[in-house]
């Protein structure tokens, strides 16, 4: 009967060291195996890429499609970074427009918005930023169409160069209203720029979608969901 002990390959080496490749039975070490496997994978990938290149349907010119510009694979437009999000809210268009147009309501669902002051036709937004700092954005309304859209642009003296727009459209099949908010902004440079970038580069997208979710909760259910078991966490 076969036993490991009879197989010369399994006899202990008299030197106590692993056999070399030329000592009879060759057993590759892990490094060698990895290299061989790696080369194999590379060769496979190269072959696949060649096959794709040789056989795919080529498209020379791509005309614009119907998707919103901000979903383009390019994420910046000139100096501006653009972020936006659409949410369907089960409420009439007019009601949502009115709620948004009273800017004093916005801090109810925008967590980082500290304070909103309206001085003449200029609105001052005090926004909480990282490192316990605050930025003040001064904007003027560019367009205001009752029940449909509000757009704004920052003015001289604003800490951030930004513009934005919120539109309200009837959702299909009586589902309420499609609310679309878009913000474009120039990430400022310098020391200011570092933390603004930190606050905005990653965050406007995240903050924006969270804010729209909270707006939806507030409008549809009358409250903003929380898993807190007590009022003061």
């Amino acid at each position: 009967m076969y036993s490991d002990n009879d197989d010369p390959r399994f006899l202990p080496s008299p030197y106590g060291a692993p056999r070399r490749y030329d000592e009879g039975s060759y057993r590759p070490d892990r490094g060698t195996t990895a290299v061989v496997l790696g080369l194999g994978v590379l060769a496979g990938a190269a072959g696949y890429a060649w096959y794709q290149a040789a056989t795919r349907n080529r498209v020379g010119h791509r005309p614009p499609d119907d998707a919103p510009g901000r979903t383009s694979r390019q994420s910046r437009y000139g100096n501006y970074a653009v972020t936006g999000r659409t949410v369907t809210i089960n409420k009439p268009r007019a009601e949502l427009y009115r709620f948004w147009r009273s800017f004093q309501n916005l801090p109810q669902f925008m967590e980082n918005l500290h304070d909103v002051r309206e001085v003449g036709d200029v609105t001052e937004w005090t926004i909480r930023a990282p490192l316990d700092r605050e930025v003040t954005v001064r904007t003027r309304i560019v367009q205001d169409v009752e029940g449909e859209m509000i757009s704004w642009r920052s003015i001289e003296g604003s800490d951030i160069d930004t513009e934005g727009k919120v539109t309200f459209r009837d959702a299909p099949a009586d589902r309420g209203t499609e609310v679309e908010a878009i913000i474009a902004y120039v990430p400022p440079a310098g020391e200011l720029g570092r933390w603004v970038a930190k606050a905005f580069q990653a965050e406007p997208a995240i903050q924006g979608r969270r804010e729209l979710r909270r707006l939806k909760m507030l409008m549809e259910t009358g409250e903003i969901a929380t898993n807190a078991n007590r009022k003061t966490a």
């Binding site: 979608r209 804010e211 979710r213 549809e220 259910t221 009358g222 969901a225 929380t226 898993n227």
Partner: protein, 394 residues
């Protein structure tokens, strides 16, 4: 208050936590009289569900007495209620379609990000589960804050015991929806993988919906005996080749509909299970799905596949070819509990459904940790554990 908290894999403890209070206008506070350990709590116990934090209060099957109400709650102090495990606002598009477990508004805004990444969309919040589903403190506690209390809880009439109605919170509607998802025609043959509480309720529900034959599959004689008591024919997968047996027991056609009531922690020694489990242990690929693969292979051509079993992540070696080529219909999802509670309460009251047969153990809340351990490691005898807060001995 005292509450069962998750501390880590196979480590749960009853600790003293702050009492909940009314936070939002539609909240109510429930004083828990009965709460059960669910099979899906064992996924948390085994540490295979992401987003569970040390100190989280578990439990999503509970009922009790209303002790406090917010200004917009429609409940009244003193009412006895069963609370659905799904938290649903009742106002969004999904709730209006009775797709309560897809509610848009119960999962806090900052908790939706991860599940949106993982699943494409965030689902409703659930009590006492992962932070992916809201991280709401659960029902294995003396008191629970119940959001949207005007939508979820169902008021229980006097004269019905806790034991009769407690399972309206999850496993009875889950078993019922599992059978409903099979679209059962009179005389159909239905096969059910897993004779835990959901599987057993699915067996019972399938018969109510007109199934001619239900075949239940498990490895524990204790659980198979309960399935048989419900009228099912049973297969012990440790002694029988399930695929062959199902073909032979369905006239060579395969069952008309199949139910995977096992989910992501399929056991056994099949090669795919072993691989799945290794990957689950090292954190690559979350799901072990032997039952699901077998169900897809077993079901007849053009048949129906219902998946009440919980899955959380990704799966490979999935028999997609069989699914497509055989033209199967798949229906699944977390249970839309609120859709079923009223009808099922009536059926319990009329004696059409028996809910108490599967309770094997009743323990004080203080002994919850022992309940978890036994339910996990002695599945043959421990089929369902009900915890009673506020009692010393039972």
């Amino acid at each position: 208050m005292r509450a069962l908290t998750w501390q880590g894999k196979h480590d749960v403890r009853v600790e003293t936590m702050p009492d909940p209070e009314i936070v939002n206008p539609r909240d109510a506070i429930i004083k828990v009289t009965s709460t059960a350990i669910c099979g899906s709590d064992l996924h948390l116990y085994d540490g295979v569900i992401p987003g569970v934090l040390a100190g989280d209060i578990l439990g999503h099957e509970f009922m009790g007495e209303v002790v406090e109400t917010g200004p917009k709650s429609t409940l009244k102090k003193g009412q006895r209620v069963v609370v659905p495990f799904t938290i649903s606002c009742g106002k969004c598009f999904f709730c209006e379609q009775s797709l309560y477990s897809a509610c848009d508004n119960s999962n806090p805004a900052d908790k939706q990000d991860i599940s949106e990444k993982l699943y494409g969309h965030a689902m409703s919040a659930l009590f006492g589960y992962s932070h992916l589903t809201g991280g709401y403190p659960g029902g294995q506690a003396e008191y629970v804050r119940v959001p949207f209390s005007d939508v979820g809880p169902i008021v229980i009439p006097d004269g019905m015991d806790d034991d009769e109605v407690l399972f309206l919170s999850d496993i009875l509607p889950t078993g019922w929806m599992a059978a409903e998802n099979c679209d059962i025609k009179p005389g159909d043959t239905v096969a059910v993988w897993g004779c835990g509480p959901v599987g057993l309720f699915a067996v019972q529900s399938a018969f109510v919906m007109g199934a001619g034959k239900v075949i239940a599959i498990d490895e524990y004689p204790g659980r198979l005996a309960l399935a048989r008591k419900m009228g099912a024919e049973v297969i012990d997968f440790k002694q029988t080749n399930v695929l062959e047996a199902l073909m032979e027991m369905s006239g060579g056609m395969g069952p008309d509909a199949v139910i995977d009531a096992v989910g992501m922690e399929a056991h056994g020694m099949a090669p795919d299970t072993i691989l799945d489990n290794i990957k689950q242990t090292v954190g690559v690929g979350a799901d072990s799905a032997h039952a699901l693969r077998e169900a897809i292979m077993a079901v007849r051509k053009g048949g129906r596949l219902s998946i009440p079993g919980v899955y959380g992540g990704f799966l490979d070696k999935f028999p997609l070819g069989a699914l497509m080529e055989k033209g199967l219909q798949v229906r699944t999802g977390q249970t839309h509990v609120q859709r079923y509670t009223k009808d099922l309460l009536r059926r319990i009251g009329e004696g059409e459904l028996d809910t108490t047969f599967m309770i094997s153990h009743r323990l004080p809340l203080e002994e919850a940790a022992r309940g978890y351990e036994s339910f996990r490691f002695n599945q043959n005898e421990w089929t369902k554990v009900v915890l009673k807060p506020g009692t010393e001995t039972i």
